[in-house]
């Protein structure tokens, strides 16, 4: 009896302790405002105090230097010691650990040494919850909002003039105005600086936004005329007759190859099909098509068999039934498709998600308009560089952030130290070395001779995104920053490669863009550029419906590709539409169209300012 009473008392005590701790968590959440977890709230109280101190320090510095005065460029100053900053990168491309080698010299030029933390999604959640932030990190806006409210990040408004590359760059200033209004958790101040700010520049071709052909096979087949998308399948057949197996490694060739590893947001194989027609697939998860050329959005449910989605599936099905599609496509991971297309060159016309690069050349289908693939954004991507409010050395962190807006630093990271891939000529201009030219052409490895280091992806997401550096000038002007492949001296040689010469002779133009312009088929700026940037993500409840619709569409799409006859195909299409409507897709479509319309108005009003 006594033992039972003691057991009951102990159990009651344990329950009471659990209830008290639950109540304590809830109490702290209510008093601290919105936040993610009680510990984050505990930290945020401390961080708010630190932030206020930092702000006061900033104000003092500001008062000393004068509000309008912009600090000098860090890379033009002499540093007697290096300040260490910690960085949490954007993705796994940036190697973790203390930066060494020539990249350390790039940092040392700015008085810095950098310790990079290893990136992972789990670690991101852990450090955000614990408040154990590195000095600098990249965060998406959802997290930034929480961090601003929790006082975890430094208010950069007072420090902008201490980042000269940011303060003097008009594009960045425009993006910061947008950030203040829409991405500051209603504070009206800058807490995070967006990345990938820039305006797309015209290139020699449209990137992935064009039909490309395996040039060797196409040329050997006599350059069959392609007047419409309907001519692609006969062209593939002719190409397969002359090249049934890859010359690289004997892999069996196919007209086109798909993959099943890119279906995380929508049926990924629609990507290139859409781009061929000047569409973008970014609203496909919501069953909305975006015509970038005409500047229109369409609902797939309403368009039904007039939609580009239907036509794409029909084309893929026809490819399979005509025997020109890899029948193993549904088993291909993305890497396998990539290997078949890009390494083995076993694909005649790349589609799906793999555009095909070396060995493939774009062809123009009359009547179709194409636009430049857009990576830079005037207001930046929805990811931000922030500085921790607990940073011990704010000035060093500011210099590091400033470096990410310095395209000279980007050049130095990508092109390496002077003397390896490039050098100064007697006239003080930048020229490629012989080794540099050979490396760019793939005849040598991209290992820097002076240091033995390999050029690998590192901190690829800078604040500013553009092609050219500032200070490294060649005879034709500022040098291309991302390697030597686009430098005129390299292009002069690479443009003499057989396939490029043959392409010119076949079509009579120097570049693909020139050919498009001749037919008035080229669009650099779309009426819908950057509209998607202003669209919100669906809420959790809607997200469930979106995911359910996606699963339905992906499964049905694959079945339609492998349909044995038209009757089966049409039946599957009708069933897919019905299933989507039953799941509530019409509400999703309606919501998305509404948000796109509002987003366009927001973008227009920002541009008007």
């Amino acid at each position: 009896m006594r033992k039972k009473a003691v057991s009951k008392l102990l159990a009651l005590g344990l329950s009471a302790a659990m209830m008290v701790s639950l109540a304590a968590c809830g109490g702290k959440n209510e008093s601290g405002g919105e936040s993610s977890g009680s510990a984050a709230q505990e930290e945020s109280g401390q961080e708010t105090d630190s932030q206020e101190e930092a702000g006061q320090t900033g104000e003092n510095v500001q008062a000393d230097s004068g509000e309008a005065e912009i600090a000098p460029y860090p890379d033009e100053q002499t540093w007697d010691h290096l300040d260490r900053v910690t960085l949490y990168p954007f993705d796994t491309n940036t190697t973790s650990g203390l930066v060494t080698g020539y990249k350390a010299d790039v940092l040392a030029k700015r008085g810095l040494e950098m310790e990079v933390w290893a990136y992972s999604d789990e670690k991101t959640n852990a450090i955000l919850a614990s408040g154990d932030l590195p000095d600098i990190m990249f965060v998406k806006y959802d997290n930034l909002k929480t961090m601003i409210e929790g006082g975890l990040v430094l208010n950069l408004e007072e420090y902008l003039n201490q980042m000269p590359h940011i303060a003097e760059n008009e594009q960045i200033q425009t993006a910061l105005n947008y950030t203040r209004t829409y991405r500051s958790a209603d504070t009206g101040e800058v807490y995070g600086i967006p990345i990938q700010i820039g305006v797309e520049e015209e290139a020699e071709d449209t990137g992935r936004n064009a039909v490309k052909v395996n040039w060797k096979a196409y040329y050997a087949a006599g350059c069959p005329e392609i007047k419409s998308v309907d001519d692609l399948i006969p062209a593939m057949k002719k190409m397969l007759e002359v090249m049934p197996e890859s010359e690289e490694d004997g892999t069996k060739c196919w007209g086109t190859i798909l993959n099943a590893g890119s279906d995380d947001q929508y049926w990924g194989n629609m990507q290139l099909w859409y781009k061929w027609f000047g569409y973008e697939p970014d609203s496909l998860p919501y069953l909305v098509e975006t015509d970038m050329i005409k500047g229109e959005h369409h609902s797939i449910l309403e368009e039904n068999r007039d939609s580009l989605y239907y036509k794409g599936l029909k084309w893929y099905n026809e490819c399979l039934r005509e025997g020109v599609m890899d029948p193993d496509s549904i088993n291909n991971e993305r890497q396998v498709q990539k290997a078949k297309v890009e390494t083995s060159l076993a694909c005649m016309i790349p589609s799906g998600t793999c555009a095909g690069w070396a060995g493939y050349r774009p062809i123009y289908i009359p009547g179709m308009s194409l636009y430049q693939e857009n990576w830079a954004k005037p207001y930046g991507a929805d990811t931000y560089v922030v500085i921790s409010a607990n940073t011990e050395n704010v000035e060093a962190a500011l210099r590091a952030v400033d470096m990410m807006a310095d395209f000279d630093a980007y050049f130095e990271i990508w092109c390496g130290p002077e003397g390896d891939l490039w050098e100064y000529g007697e006239d003080g201009l930048v020229y490629p070395t012989e080794f540099g030219i050979k490396s760019a052409l793939g005849e040598e490895t991209t290992v820097f001779e002076s240091t033995g280091e390999e050029r690998v992806l590192w901190l690829d997401n800078f604040i500013i995104k553009r092609n050219f550096t500032d200070s490294y000038i060649g005879p034709d002007g500022p040098r291309h920053a991302r390697g030597l492949a686009e430098w005129p001296e390299v292009k002069e040689i690479s443009n003499q490669q057989d396939e490029i010469v043959q392409w010119r002779e076949t079509f009579g133009y120097d570049t693909f863009v020139e050919q498009l312009k001749a037919d008035n088929a080229y669009v650099l700026r779309s009426p819908l550029d950057n509209v998607v940037s202003f669209c919100p993500d669906p809420d959790d409840a809607m997200k469930l419906t979106v995911d359910a619709v996606k699963d339905t569409v992906v499964e049905a799409s694959w079945k339609m590709v492998y349909a044995k006859n038209d009757e089966e195909f049409e039946g599957l299409w009708d069933q897919m539409i019905k299933d989507c409507i039953d799941l509530g897709a019409e509400d999703i479509v309606s919501w998305r169209l509404d948000e796109l319309s509002k987003a366009k108005e927001t973008r227009d009003s920002l541009e008007a300012e």
Partner: protein, 297 residues
């Protein structure tokens, strides 16, 4: 003289042989396939042209992986945590199990249930992270040891095994004046070899394969484990291959020939080889140990 086999016996033996041979091949083939892919041309591996025999023999995948900076240090860290973590976990877990076999332990049933309850409920990743941070384990080697000292499932196995030891063995030691620790180390523990080998294997494999702890709690490269280093390398190769191949377009040249699938398989091979070497030595304890732990009395 041997017994003469009838035709039916021979047929039966042959059929059995065929069936078991097929199953054996099914079990062994994945390891064989893994190995031949690591020594074949990476581009052929990528397009699935390697099936039964290696093609384009090369060791470049191994050379790439073995050239990783910090590989030696991370291997030492992994070895250290495996050995130290396994030994300390075995001792602490078995000692705790011993406590729970002592009827005189105060609140034995309550504490046992409280410990077992932690198998069913977890506070989640964030509270665990904060707890470890509070204990000062971030960026410390002890993050690999301390949180994993007690494995509840392992403790249950050991406890069940210990309960099969006759009480008379301990009673005689008690009469001779032996304390709990002496009885545990000199009488009980030596009799638990099978279960300790089993539990030790589970624990050692867990330590060897774990990279999540490093990913979450460690930012200093000198404390990276082998698994984490290889995981990071694999991610970088995967991302670099996709980027480099795209950037090669303008120059009309091929991209990197270090393909992610080949790297992934090479990493797998490097990581499982030590375990495969150790396992045969403790296999004899393994089955026996699992059965002892599972069946009470």
């Amino acid at each position: 003289m041997g017994k003469k086999m009838s035709a039916a016996d021979i047929t039966y033996n042959v059929l059995c042989g065929i069936v078991f041979a097929v199953f054996s091949i099914i079990c062994i083939f994945p390891f064989y396939y893994l190995f031949i892919c690591t020594i074949s041309d990476p581009s052929l591996v990528e397009v699935g042209k390697i099936v039964f025999l290696p093609k384009g023999l090369t060791l470049k995948n191994y050379r790439e992986v073995l050239r990783l900076p910090n590989l030696g240090n991370s291997a030492l860290v992994t070895l250290g945590r495996t050995v130290l973590g396994t030994a300390s976990s075995l001792f602490v877990t078995s000692y705790l199990a011993y406590f729970f076999t002592r009827t005189e332990m105060w609140g034995r049933k309550f504490w046992y249930r409280a410990v077992v309850a932690t198998m069913y409920f977890s506070a989640g990743m964030i509270p665990v992270y904060l707890n470890n941070k509070m204990l000062g384990l971030l960026n410390s080697f002890w993050i690999y040891i301390v949180p994993g000292l007690v494995g509840v499932y392992n403790m249950i196995l050991v406890k069940t095994s210990m309960e099969s030891v006759p009480a008379e063995l301990e009673e005689s030691a008690v009469l001779d004046g032996a304390g709990y620790l002496t009885r545990f180390t000199k009488i009980i523990l030596p009799l638990q070899k099978p279960i300790l080998a089993t539990v030790g294997l589970f624990t050692a494999v867990g330590h060897w394969n774990d990279f999540f702890t490093t990913q979450l709690y460690i930012t200093k490269p000198k404390l990276y484990t082998l698994q984490f280093l290889l995981y990071e390398f694999q991610n970088q190769v995967k991302n670099a291959a996709s980027q480099i191949n795209s950037a090669s377009e303008a120059a009309g040249v091929g991209g990197s020939n270090i393909q992610p699938t080949g790297i992934r398989l090479t990493l797998t091979a490097i990581v499982i080889i030590p375990i495969m070497l150790v396992y045969p030595f403790i296999q004899k304890y393994y089955v026996k140990g699992v059965m002892i732990g599972a069946v009470k009395g």
